[in-house]
């Protein structure tokens, strides 16, 4: 029996369907679990926290959801080595829950994905993210090549990593900076970052490498037809680069 993945739906989540779809397309036994079924979460082997506006992003994106009863099971599972992937709002929730970078106590975040800068507005932009760790450093990225470049859509109002200098040093020293924003050719500079995020951070991983949080949406660049830089030829219904991260996730769950 293969590992079962729960796609969590908090009140306000809005990306569960495309996340479920891609997970199943790459062969993961994935299921949607609503907040009213929180008590069933313990029975799953892995978790995805999808995008949206869980609990209306009150206080700060992810801050309230991090204290939702559903997160008890996720935090417990993460501590016992279960794989957890947070995307966009899910990344914010994972960070607010203290699962990433994981350098502080649970639900006592040492950093935040906060209001975009310099323009403090929601931004919808096609981006690329570059794997900034050894692929094997994180179970979910283990199947990706070195320096993997993944197309995705940034679509958030609070994606700017902010933390004290000390905590930022922890993030770099501990190898928690999993993804950085990059250009289509793989080059990395400040102009590739759409939201002023510290160190161009697009994703974080915890010390044990079983929890990954990524701000842009790879599941929205999952098929060639929704890849903005698609080639003229080629099968538009075939998977695009965004699916690579989920394929690697699927391998980790086998």
């Amino acid at each position: 029996m293969s590992a079962r993945l729960a796609v969590l739906v908090f009140p306000g989540t809005n990306s569960e369907e495309e996340t479920l779809r891609l997970a199943r397309d790459v062969g993961i036994d994935a299921h949607i679990v609503h907040w009213s079924r929180a008590q069933t979460l313990g029975a799953y082997d892995a978790y995805v926290l999808p995008g949206g506006f869980a609990h209306e992003d009150r206080i700060r994106a992810g801050a309230v959801a991090a204290h939702d009863a559903m997160m008890d099971a996720v935090i417990d599972g993460a501590q016992r080595g279960k794989l957890v992937l947070g995307i966009c709002n899910g990344a914010q929730i994972a960070l607010e829950a203290g699962l990433v970078p994981g350098t502080g106590p649970v639900r006592k975040p040492t950093a935040a994905f906060t209001r975009n800068g310099p323009v403090p507005k929601f931004v919808c932009k096609h981006v690329y993210v570059k794997l900034a760790i050894e692929p094997k450093r994180c179970a979910i990225t283990a199947g990706l090549p070195q320096d993997a470049l993944i197309p995705a859509w940034a679509a958030h109002g609070e994606g700017r990593l902010a933390a004290s200098d000390e905590h930022l040093r922890e993030i770099t020293a501990g190898g928690h900076l999993a993804f950085v924003y990059a250009h289509a050719d793989g080059t990395v500079d400040a102009s590739a970052t759409p939201n002023g995020s510290a160190m161009g951070c697009a994703g974080l991983v915890n010390a044990a490498g079983n929890v990954l949080a990524i701000m842009p949406h790879p599941e929205r660049d999952a098929w060639n037809f929704n890849h903005l830089d698609r080639r003229e030829d080629g099968d538009v219904l075939a998977p695009s680069g965004g699916a690579a991260l989920f394929r690697s996730f699927a391998e980790a769950l086998r």
């Binding site: 739906v9 009140p11 495309e18 779809r21 995008g51 919808c124 929205r220 037809f225 929704n226 830089d229």
Partner: protein
């Protein structure tokens, strides 16, 4: 009958009655009030008179437009359901044995947005997605045609409106998780006191799973179930506070009682409703479903039951309210947001309540929110409201919801003068280099990205062409299938000022063109008719002739109207109306998403063609504004040729001959070419060498008019010149205009323009308004 608090009509003189109606905040005219008393054979109760005031309002009854709208063609092979309910449905295609329909609805939220832009625009989105949802559909996309006043002054109310409305559309659409894939925005002084915020929503539904907004056959005794936000005092047209007194304690709550959008609650209600659809399908149950809009609980339940041929009895004590002691007319007619209404068999009701109240725990999502039984369908064709132990309303339901018509004066329609395409209106012979940057930087041409980049264009993961990527947005909503849907909007106020009829026809043609430009076949249309005060013959005449123009064009193109909306009384303080604004949205279908055509130029050394005919008539064009030419008429609109242009493009695209395409609209051919080059800047820039215009206009048309005039058509990029010209040999209006080059310039004859410099002129202007 209704014992207490009746509204006196009998025995009052007309002037007394008019005064009393005004005091009660009623819009009903004296003759309408007397008609009600005559039919009822008594004075109506306070609740009844407010009910008629809502149902007989323009918003609900279309009393000044319904008979005109009958002129629009509403049938055809692509129509799955015409304009009978909250939304129309177009046939997209088949996949794995199912026939898929695209649901489309179009609405305005103009007046609220002018006063409270953020909430007004957000509730506009909230309302239109409910119209689509209640057909049993999944909500798959939205679009937002916007019209604002002059925004140059940072301190102006117009700037506040233009920013707030966009924030509101974004905040609501993003939160419920629906991609915003199309829209447009125009700025004009005549929108200073009257912005337009139109919203379009698309849904996806299998033909076999459509849910209707009517009480099903044999539904006598079925439950009427109210779902959503607790009913408060919002949206009771001022009448609530002028005609009743609420408890002192509630005063603060009342002050805050404006229509308040709650996208967070809506997100949950939408998902719970999808679950309810699933349950009803699994158990083969037919139900009725409708959203609450104008007229609130009363309007929605009355229309649901009367369209099924039944009456209804509703107990207002059972409604979940936000305040104590709300007057019955406010509970019955107030327009609290985020509410829907089901008609279901009593044995199914517990499951529906369980889905909303337990599985999706509405009561925990928002205070007082829930699903609750408020009444039942009855055989007797009467609409009855109970409050406490009294009956506060009991009227013949068809009298309440039946169609009424206002007798309105119409002026002699202006003659449609034929325009000689060769007659020139440009005196000074300017060089293109003197106007190009001005045209690209014009408020109606410059980049809209600063505005729409705050809209989520890709949530749901189905987006093929996001907002701004082409003339129309494209999504592939049926997972695993190659079916794709295109959506565009059109409606140019500069044209509306000059000629309401031709402007309306041009809206239809331009919306269809934009859909064709991405390789999609136009399936059908929806319209939102934004006009002035119908009591003013000049303004009403514009509406009458505009509908003629819509009908004429949609017949000529073979694209029917399946839904629409009318917004009148868009009048400024000074009595000036907005420009005639017939705004049209077009849905296109692609049987194979692989054949989608995009806007960026693809290769160097390819040939550019103009599919269309340049004219010297530059009336209403951006060029005319830049040059200060006021006397020119709109270009002649040849509907047959417009259709042939579309067929030529679709045919060539079907043969795989089109590498990229762009419809020619604001700013003309050269602007279209420029935008095709701008779209290459995110990769290697591709430039263009254009021929001298007199070559492709046979010297009949002035250079400026040929390059910047707005005569419609398309610019297309073609690789296989021989096959393309063979394909087009029967079409006289296909002209080779230039070729693509590997330098980042647009060269026109001997002038060469740097693409990056042009791009800057085009990209900058709105960044100041939308940081």
């Amino acid at each position: 009958m209704p014992a207490l608090r009746s509204f006196r009509i009998g025995g009052l003189r007309d002037d007394e009655l008019a005064k009393s109606a005004k005091e009660h905040g009623l819009a009903l005219r004296v003759d309408e009030l007397r008609r009600i008393a005559d039919r009822l054979g008594r004075d109506p109760s306070i609740v009844e008179v407010h009910a008629f005031d809502a149902q007989w309002s323009e918003h609900c009854s279309y009393k000044s437009s319904r008979h005109l709208l009958r002129k629009l063609p509403t049938d055809g092979p692509t129509v799955m359901q015409g304009p009978a309910e909250d939304a129309g449905i177009l046939h997209l295609g088949e996949w794995k044995g199912d026939r898929y329909g695209v649901v489309i609805a179009h609405e305005s939220h103009n007046h609220p947005s002018q006063v409270v832009p953020f909430e007004g625009a957000a509730t506009g989105v909230g309302g239109i997605v409910r119209d689509v949802l209640c057909m049993g559909a999944e909500i798959i996309a939205i679009a937002d045609p916007l019209r604002f006043g002059r925004v140059e002054d940072p301190e102006s109310h117009q700037r506040y409106v233009a920013q707030g409305a966009v924030d509101g559309v974004g905040a609501y659409g993003n939160a419920i998780g629906v991609p915003n894939i199309a829209g447009d925005v125009y700025f004009d002084e005549r929108f200073d006191d009257n912005c337009l915020v139109n919203v379009v929503a698309l849904g996806l539904v299998k033909e076999s799973e459509i849910i209707h907004s009517a009480a099903p056959a044999n539904s006598v005794g079925w439950d009427i179930v109210l779902v959503g936000k607790a009913t408060d005092t919002s949206g009771f047209g001022g009448a609530a506070f002028s005609s009743v007194t609420l408890d002192e304690a509630d005063e603060d709550a009342n002050k805050g009682a404006v229509q308040v959008p709650d996208p967070f609650l809506k997100n949950v209600i939408v998902r719970a409703s999808y679950r309810a659809f699933e349950y009803l399908r699994e158990h083969g149950i037919t139900a009725g479903f409708k959203d609450l809009g104008a007229g609130g609980i009363m309007g929605c339940s009355a229309e649901l039951c009367s369209s099924g041929g039944f009456g209804a009895i509703v107990d207002l004590d059972d409604v979940n309210t936000a305040l104590e002691n709300m007057p019955p007319e406010v509970i019955a007619i107030g327009e609290t947001q985020e509410r829907l209404c089901w008609i279901v068999p009593p044995d199914v009701t517990p499951q529906i309540l369980r889905i909303y109240n337990e599985e999706f725990s509405l009561p925990q999502i928002a205070r007082g929110a829930c699903a609750v039984v408020i009444g039942a369908v009855q055989k007797q064709m009467h609409y009855v409201l109970r409050a406490g132990d009294e009956i506060v309303m009991d009227v013949p339901i068809d009298f309440l919801t039946g169609s009424i018509r206002d007798p309105l004066a119409v002026n002699e329609p202006p003659a449609q003068a034929a325009v000689d395409p060769r007659e020139r209106f440009v005196e000074e012979e300017l060089d293109p280099s003197e106007v190009f940057a001005q045209v690209l930087g014009h408020r109606d041409v410059c980049s809209r990205a600063p505005l729409f980049k705050q809209y989520d264009a890709v949530v749901r993961g189905t987006t093929v062409i996001p907002r701004g990527g082409a003339d129309a947005g494209v999504i592939a909503p049926v997972h695993g299938s190659p079916l794709a849907v295109a959506l565009s909007v059109a409606g140019n106020p500069r044209y509306g000022k000059l000629d309401a009829r031709r402007a309306a026809a041009m809206s239809v043609v331009e919306s269809a063109r934009k859909v064709a430009a991405v390789g999609a076949r136009p399936l059908g249309l929806t319209d939102c008719l934004n006009f002035g005060n119908p009591q003013n013959p000049a303004h009403y005449t514009e509406l009458v002739v505009a509908i003629d123009g819509l009908a004429e064009a949609s017949v000529a193109l073979g694209t029917p109207f399946v839904s629409g909306n009318v917004s009148l009384y868009n009048e400024a303080k000074n009595g000036n109306a907005i420009p005639a604004s017939p705004i049209v949205a077009c849905v296109g279908g692609l049987q194979n998403v692989a054949s989608v055509v995009t806007m960026p130029l693809k290769r160097v050394g390819t040939i550019l063609y103009y599919i269309g005919e340049a004219q010297n008539a530059i009336g209403g064009s951006v060029l005319a504004e830049v040059l200060g030419v006021n006397a020119a008429p709109l270009p002649q609109l040849d509907l047959l040729r417009a259709r042939m242009e579309i067929e030529t493009l679709l045919g060539a695209a079907g043969e795989g001959l089109i590498l990229s395409a762009h419809a020619v609209s604001n700013g003309g051919v050269l602007t279209a070419v420029a935008e095709m080059t701008f779209a290459t800047l995110r990769r290697t820039a591709i430039g263009v060498q254009l021929d001298d215009p007199c070559v492709w206009t046979q010297g009949q048309i002035g250079d400026l008019e040929a390059l910047f005039g707005e005569s419609g058509g398309f610019v297309v990029e073609v690789a296989d010149q021989e096959r393309f010209e063979k394909f087009c040999e029967d079409f006289p209006f296909v002209h080779e205009i230039g070729m693509t080059i590997d330098q980042p310039v647009i060269a026109v004859d001997e002038d060469a323009f740097d693409i990056r410099a042009l791009h800057e002129a085009w990209a900058e202007p709105l960044t100041e308004v939308y940081v």
